[in-house]
């Protein structure tokens, strides 16, 4: 397994932080927290389990397979993203049952529909410092399988 720089606590445990979530993304891995007490999955990570209040977690890798729950084409964007407009945002349901927001990147001729199969990918960018993190996004699963 490749070496990933992660924030750890004094005992060496990987901290359940958002920064670590995105550091995993920077290495092509979509990770969730799993509560050791109640087995609840969390994404984004949290310091305390919202179900059982435990703070003991392990990180697990998700498949990245997802279905589209909803989407929108953004035509008017904040300055930072203006040059990219129009672009697509969406909420997906991951195979493991969790939902996540993110960009949906598809060819112009693709007609998006709720329920479509997607798969996660990762931006090829380098983090430029907290909290400028490498992003995940979703693309059509079948295109990837070609």
């Amino acid at each position: 397994m490749e070496e990933i720089t992660l924030d750890r606590d004094e005992t060496g445990e990987i901290l359940p932080t958002i920064q670590n979530f995105y550091r995993f993304c920077g290495h092509g891995r979509l990770m969730a927290l799993k509560c050791i007490e109640c087995e609840k999955l969390l994404i984004p990570p949290r310091i305390i389990c919202p179900k059982c209040s435990s703070s003991r977690f392990k990180w697990i890798q998700l498949s990245g397979k997802a279905k589209l729950r909803t989407f929108s084409f953004i035509h008017i964007a904040p300055k930072q993203f203006s040059s990219q407009a129009p672009y697509i945002i969406g909420i997906v349901k991951l195979e493991e049952g969790l939902s996540l927001s993110g960009r949906i990147i598809v060819d112009k001729n693709v007609k998006l529909e709720i329920g479509m199969d997607l798969i996660v990918e990762f931006e090829d960018t380098v983090s430029v410092g907290w909290p400028q993190w490498p992003r995940y996004y979703f693309k059509l699963a079948k295109v990837i399988e070609q």
Partner: protein
């Protein structure tokens, strides 16, 4: 059990809404305060008013925070306690609720509650950015999510689930522009057609320009007092009978149901319970139409129709000024304008006018019970209040 009424509104003020060139937030607020003071000759502001609770969303727009004491200073209330509240577009709705708590706790007998925002000097991309500050930075802003975009995600889910149509959304815009055409303080005082609305350019699909509220400057305020002191200041006070507030996840993605705003349902439930009122008792309502889909869903979630029927409700005409449950007689955020920090109390201002018979051409007949529903962000905050003409 909290004794009722919670508080009385004895005066109210609203600046013109719109593009108020040459005026800063503090100056715009002064015009709202001046109306409230002028309308209430028995009130001596510097002697009687013992606090200012102010909704103000974004420090970025004018590069100015700490606006509670700033505005208090500008309207001559210094040195009374002054507080700025920020819960996105529900900033002054939250300020109103905390103002009620200040009265009810015995800390103050009379307090001014209001809100203000100055936005129109900004480029659209900057305004879009600053308004998006109330969405989760790390999982929404960071991926290019905007507020129109977030409500577009909700709209598409509602369309998918309940066959809600773009025409139904546009019908809300047409209704609210009609109402706004009757409101001299509204930013847009002109009617629009269904076709105009349905062919306007796409902002964030499926939402079009006419599905979106305006970028506005403006300010609003009310003078709150203890019910037992109300008649000292006004012959026709209105009474706040119920208050509810609830939160939802900051990330839209964490919600199991995208077609309902859970915080709205909870806030309304609590406000109804406290007031002893039910949806059918409401004579007039101002609800948060930052986007047409928001009015549609709120009309369902506060119980004006059953879940999924919000589109049919507006098409039936029931939410028009002469309908069974008039919604957004002021023109709403859509046509009156949406100076975000001012919006919550601007809703209370309209209910104050309606319940005291001062709403002019848009007056609802025999309006005795009112409801306001103020939303923050994409429903991460909701605040509901129920008002009545009698104690």
């Amino acid at each position: 059990m909290i004794e009722k009424p919670l508080a009385a509104i004895v005066s109210a003020g609203l600046s013109k809404f719109g593009k108020l060139d040459g005026f800063s937030a503090r100056e715009i607020f002064t015009y709202a305060a001046k109306e409230a003071f002028d309308k209430c000759p028995n009130l001596d502001p510097r002697k009687d008013v013992k606090g200012l609770y102010l909704g103000h969303m974004t420090e970025s727009a004018e590069h100015q925070g700490h606006t509670g004491p700033l505005v208090a200073d500008w309207i001559g209330l210094n040195p009374v306690p002054a507080v700025r509240f920020e819960n996105a577009c529900a900033s002054s709705g939250v300020a109103l609720r905390c103002g009620i708590q200040a009265i009810k706790s015995g800390f103050v007998d009379v307090i001014m509650v209001g809100g203000v925002e100055k936005l129109t000097h900004l480029a659209t991309s900057d305004a879009t950015e600053y308004l998006a500050l109330s969405a989760d930075n790390f999982f929404e802003q960071w991926h290019g999510f905007t507020f129109p975009g977030l409500f577009a995600l909700i709209a598409r889910a509602h369309m998918h689930e309940y066959d809600t149509t773009g025409e139904q959304l546009a019908t809300i815009a047409v209704k609210n522009h009609h109402n706004g055409s009757l409101n001299p303080k509204a930013q847009m005082q002109k009617e629009i057609t269904l076709e105009q609305a349905m062919t306007s350019r796409v902002v964030a699909s499926p939402l079009r320009l006419f599905d979106c509220s305006l970028i506005s400057d403006g300010a609003s305020c009310v003078i709150l007092t203890k019910p037992e002191l109300a008649k000292r200041f006004s012959d026709t006070p209105i009474y706040i009978q119920g208050s509810g507030q609830a939160s939802d996840t900051i990330g839209l993605y964490e919600r199991d149901d995208l077609t309902s705003l859970n915080a709205v349902a909870l806030a309304a439930r609590d406000a109804y319970e406290m007031s002893g009122m039910k949806p059918k008792d409401i004579d007039v309502a101002e609800v948060h139409d930052c986007f047409t889909i928001a009015e549609l869903i709120i009309s369902e979630d506060v119980g004006f129709c059953k879940k999924g029927d919000g589109g049919k409700l507006v098409q039936s005409g029931d939410t028009a000024i002469d309908g069974n449950i008039p919604i957004n007689t002021s023109g709403g955020l859509k046509s009156k304008g949406h100076p975000v920090g001012a919006t919550g109390v601007a809703q209370a201002y309209e209910i104050f006018l309606q319940l005291t018979g001062q709403a002019g051409a848009r007056q609802v007949n025999d309006a005795e019970i009112g409801l306001t529903l103020n939303l923050g962000g994409h429903g991460s905050t909701a605040v509901a209040h129920v008002y009545s003409t009698t104690i």
